[in-house]
Symmetry: C2
Subunit: 188 residues, 2 copies
DNA sequence: ACATTTCATTGACCTTTGCGAATAAAATTT
DNA sequence: AAATTTTATTCGCAAAGGTCAATGAAATGT
């Protein structure tokens, strides 16, 4: 996957001036406090959030529980994918876990600029492809690993998550109960 | 999701003549017998398979078991996504479950034609977006539904799978053992 | 700094699901 | 059509993980 992230980074570094200018003109930076919502369920995700610093999480509420679907750190792009791509109400929330600064790009502005700038089309395509690869890996892990193995995977592949996020949220992300996660940690 | 499939169908119906011609020229039709492999693990998925009729499945081997990741019916596009997009060895197999006729497009030819035909870029983009949406839904179901509910979901959303595919394969697709699936079916 | 609330750990118990083996039913092969 | 192989069902048992409840530890608010 690293290979893929590099590919995207390189694409951005090589943006021509016109593309960069267009992107800059339709984007703005905003800071949120810990606990703030960047997106709420039932509203349409008409913005994407490029994390400059701080941590976000995306989750949905199901049976009185919160199920975390993704964490976002510096240089990650946060959005509710199905709400964003189809411009329909979101079932997910996006919330600041710390004080967060994000660079915001409006959906409709981006769609307009995409028509004019091939490199933005490429960016959009690669980001989508990358998300699909990430999801495929997630499904693979859910099919092949038990709770302990999933925890070990996140420990080695995403230690920054373990270090900076509450266990309650990590538990739902790994699809185990908080109690089970606590026992797994006690054993290892 | 149906909305999305329609969007893709409409795009294809509206292909201009040049696009259609290009696509036709780089594609060919081939028939496989039941049991044949269209793709084997460790080889690179350098083709995509558009199912004209028959059924395919994609799976990987893990701990002496076969875990089915997808079934393909008429008008579905089969490939190993990570192998295809990154042109690296596949961990998945694609196999014919019945006699199957597919329309095959070579990866490299498609990449070349994509440069010339905007509508092929759009097709590629929408197909990727659709796959990501499909995967997101799959992860959602794995997180929120138990074995019985997942079976009921496939029963209502994809009855054609239940009718035409072996339970062993459906079980691994739903991430339950064959025995559990059998008990679920006995209860309902 | 203290009080309150939230979060994490631990234990007892229960439910779901997996596994091995036996059997039955289907599908294939000869 | 009979024999063989593959697939599906059912059972008993074991393991993994969930739930409820109590307690301890951290974080937050005043």
């Amino acid at each position: 996957m690293q290979h893929y992230i590099d590919k995207i980074k390189k694409l951005i570094e090589n943006f021509d001036d016109a593309t960069l200018k267009a992107l800059t003109e339709i984007s703005y930076t905003k800071t949120f406090s810990k606990g703030d919502y960047l997106l709420k369920a039932d509203s349409i995700c008409d913005k994407s959030f490029w994390v400059e610093n701080g941590i976000l999480r995306k989750y949905y509420a199901y049976n009185d529980k919160e199920i975390t679907t993704e964490f976002y750190f510096k240089d990650d792009l946060a959005m509710s994918f199905d709400s964003y791509t189809q411009q329909k109400p979101s079932r997910e929330y996006i919330q600041a876990l710390t004080e967060v600064t994000v660079n915001i790009t409006d959906y409709s502005s981006f769609q307009i600029e995409k028509l004019k700038h091939r490199q933005l089309q490429e960016l959009d395509f690669f980001m989508t492809e990358y998300y699909a690869l990430w999801l495929e890996e997630k499904v693979f892990e859910l099919h092949t690993q038990n709770a302990t193995e999933r925890y070990q995977t996140i420990l080695t592949k995403s230690p920054h998550i373990i270090q900076q996020v509450q266990l309650t949220q990590i538990a739902s992300y790994l699809n185990v109960s908080l109690e089970t996660l606590s026992r797994i940690r006690a054993k290892i």
